[in-house]
Point group: C2
Chain length 361, copies 2
C-alpha cells in the first residue's frame, strides 16, 4: 500500500481506499488549529494585494523585525523561511557532509534534509514504554561523535515535551564536545503556559538552533512561514545559502499583525485545554492509549486490540474520520494513529465512532 | 559602495545615495510587465482564500496539470517550483559536485546555486562587440568537460536571444559528449511571435532542461511561481529533492486561470512592441547604445560619454528614475545600465531626462 508521506491529504486517503472523494470527511490527519485562521486574515491579505507585484524585500525586514521583537532577541539571531521545511533544509546545509543524530519517532523532514546534504545519520529511539522519554545515557555517550542532534519539542507525532533540564544537559555537553542541538519548536505555540519555549536559552548556548513555524497555530499551511533562531554566526551562513525571494510578499507583509494577535492564541489554548481533558477522559475510559501530549495532537492505540490499528484506521475512515497513519514514523511502524484535537463537535463525533468500534467486537 | 544584488529595490537605492525614501520614483530597475498584474487577479486570490488553511497538495496537481496542458507536454516532464529561483537551485542539485559552464553577463543565481551545490564553474563571455553573440567555437571545444551549460534565452540583462540553430548545435554535441543544457526562459513570454520557446525540442533532446517563470509576464514576483521542463528521469530526481510544500496554495490555485489569460499576454506584447520601437528611435538618435533586446528590458550606455555610466545612474536617480546598475554582472563591470520598458508615459519621461543629460554637457 502506498501510504502518503504526510497528513492533511484526506482525498488521497479516500482514493487509496477506493472511496468517493466527494464524500465529506472530518480531517483529523493534519496538526492544525481547530479554530482555523484568525477572522481578520482574509481582509488583511486582500489589503496586502499590491505587494504581490513587487519582488519580496530580500531581507524580509518587515517580518524579521516582528519576529525579533516578539521573541525578544536581536534581528541578527533570526532568519525567516518559506515554512518550517525550508528552515530544516537550511540547517542541514550548515552541517553538510557531517554527522547527524535523529531521535525517532519524529518529523520525517530532518532525515530527508540530511540526505539532501549528505549527512551521516545516527538513529536513536524514544523509550515508548516510558512516556517516550529520551534515551539520555546513550545520547550523551554518542554526542561527541555527532555534529548536530535533531530534536522536536513538542515532538511530532507524539505531542510529548522533552524536559528542559534534559535539553540543558545536552546543550552543556554539546558545548564541550562541539555539538549543535536543533530544537524544532513548530508546535511550541500550543504549549500550556507553564511550559516554555527555549528561546531564552539562546543567549547562554551558542550551539542551540531553534526552528519555529506559524503554520500550525494560525492554520496557514498554504501561506508558508517559519523561522530559525540561532547564534548570529549560524544565521549569517544560513542567510547566505537561502534561495532568494523564497518567502512570498503576502506572508511577509501580514506577519507583524499575525504575531501580535495574542487573543487568538489564548482562545486556542483555552479550547485545547478543555478538549484535551475531554478526549483523555472519554478515550482512556474506553481503554484506548493516548500518548502523553501537551499540544494539539496525540497518538492513539486500542489497548484491547493493539494489533488492529489498520483495521481501526479503515473503520474510522468509513465513518467519515481521516486520521494520520504512522507507517512512515520510524519506531511506530503503523502501530498508532495520529489525531489532531479538533472542535468539541468533531471530537464528540470521534468519541462516538470509537465507541461504536469498541461495541462492534 | 554596497550595490544591492538585484533590481526592484528603489528604496535601497535611495538610501544608498542618502535620498529621502518617501520621494516617489519611477522604478525601471525590475524586469516586470509595465501593465502590472491582470485586473481579475485580486478577486481570484480573495476567492482562493480558503486554500491557505490546507497544506499545499504535495504534487501541486492543479498547477502542474495546467502547465503541462499549456505547454503541450506530459505532466511527468513538468516540475512546478517556488519561483524560478528554486528551479535553478534544484537543477544545480542534480549536477552536484559536477562541472558547470556559465556564459556571462547573465542572471546571477546560476552561479550562486552552483556554489551552493559545489559545482566547479567555468566562466565564458558573450561577445559584446558582436551583439552579445555566443562564443560558439570555444563553447563547443569545452562542452566535453562540462556536465551542465547554463544559458539564459532571452538573456538577462541584455535581452538578446541566442539563435535556435546555435542551441540545437550545442544540444546535438551535448548528446554525444554527455552534457546537459539548461535554458532559462524566464522572459520567453515576452518574445515576439516569430521567435519561439524551445519547449518543442524537449522530445528530441533528453539533455535539454528548460526553466520558466510566471513572475515577469504576470507581474507577480511576490507570489512566486516557476517551473522546470525536462526529461522525466530528470524531473523525478528534482521532485525527490524538492523541499516539501515549497509552493504556496494561493499561487497553486490561481495558475490555471493565469496561464489561460492569453488576451493579457497579447496586450502586453503589443504594448512592448510599440514602446520598444519608440525607445530605440528616441535613444539611438541621441547617440545612446541599446543592447539588441527582443523583450521587456535592455542595456543602455551613452556612446558619447561611455565612461560616465555611474554619473548617468545618479543623474537619472536625482530625476526620479531608478535603473539597475550592472556592477555585479560579470563582463559588464557597471559600464551599462539595465532598464525595463515601462508604460509610454514613463518611457517618455525617461527620454526627456536623457535629453536633459545630453544637453547638460
Amino acid at each position: 500500500m502506498k501510504w502518503p508521506n504526510h497528513g492533511g491529504q484526506p482525498n488521497v486517503i479516500q482514493q487509496l481506499f477506493q472511496m468517493n472523494t466527494d464524500q465529506p470527511v472530518l480531517d483529523f490527519s493534519a496538526n492544525l488549529n481547530p479554530l482555523g485562521p484568525p477572522n481578520w486574515l482574509n481582509n488583511a491579505l486582500h489589503q496586502a494585494y499590491e505587494t504581490i507585484s513587487r519582488y519580496p524585500d530580500p531581507s524580509y525586514t518587515n517580518s524579521t523585525a516582528a519576529v525579533a521583537q516578539f521573541e525578544g532577541i536581536h534581528q541578527d539571531n533570526v532568519l525567516v523561511t518559506n515554512g518550517g521545511a525550508e528552515a530544516i533544509f537550511l540547517v542541514a546545509k550548515y552541517f553538510e557532509n557531517g554527522k547527524a543524530c535523529i531521535v525517532h519517532p519524529t518529523f520525517l523532514e530532518y532525515e530527508r534534509a540530511c540526505n539532501h546534504y549528505h549527512l551521516n545519520i545516527d538513529e536513536m529511539f524514544y523509550d515508548q514504554d516510558n512516556g517516550f522519554s529520551l534515551p539520555m545515557l546513550e545520547l550523551k555517550h554518542r554526542l561527541q561523535e555527532t555534529d548536530v542532534l535533531f530534536l522536536c519539542r513538542p515532538n511530532n507525532p507524539t505531542g510529548h515535551v522533552i524536559a528542559e533540564t534534559e535539553i540543558k544537559q545536552l546543550l552543556e555537553l554539546g558545548l564541550s564536545v562541539g555539538t549543535h542541538i536543533v530544537v524544532d519548536e513548530a508546535f511550541a505555540d500550543f504549549l500550556p503556559s507553564n511550559t516554555h519555549s527555549l528561546t531564552r536559552l539562546l543567549e547562554t548556548y551558542p550551539n542551540l538552533i531553534i526552528l519555529r513555524s506559524l503554520t500550525k497555530m494560525y492554520t496557514i499551511p498554504g501561506l508558508r512561514f517559519g523561522y530559525v533562531m540561532a547564534h548570529q554566526s549560524v544565521i549569517s551562513v544560513l542567510k547566505h545559502e537561502q534561495i532568494p525571494w523564497s518567502i512570498n510578499s503576502l506572508v511577509d507583509s501580514i506577519i507583524p499583525k499575525l504575531i501580535a494577535d495574542r487573543t487568538f492564541v489564548d482562545k486556542t489554548k483555552s479550547l485545547l485545554h478543555g478538549e484535551s481533558q475531554f478526549l483523555h477522559r472519554s478515550l482512556t475510559s474506553m481503554d484506548f492509549y493516548l500518548s502523553p501530549t501537551q499540544v494539539n495532537f496525540y497518538l492513539l492505540r486500542d489497548r484491547k486490540r493493539p494489533n488492529e490499528t489498520e483495521e481501526l484506521f479503515i473503520f474510522l475512515l468509513h465513518h467519515g474520520i481521516v486520521t494520520r497513519h504512522t507507517h512512515n514514523f520510524k519506531g511506530l511502524q503503523g502501530d498508532f494513529l495520529r489525531l489532531a484535537i479538533r472542535s468539541h463537535e468533531e471530537n464528540k463525533q470521534l468519541v462516538a465512532v470509537l465507541k461504536k468500534w469498541r461495541e462492534d467486537k
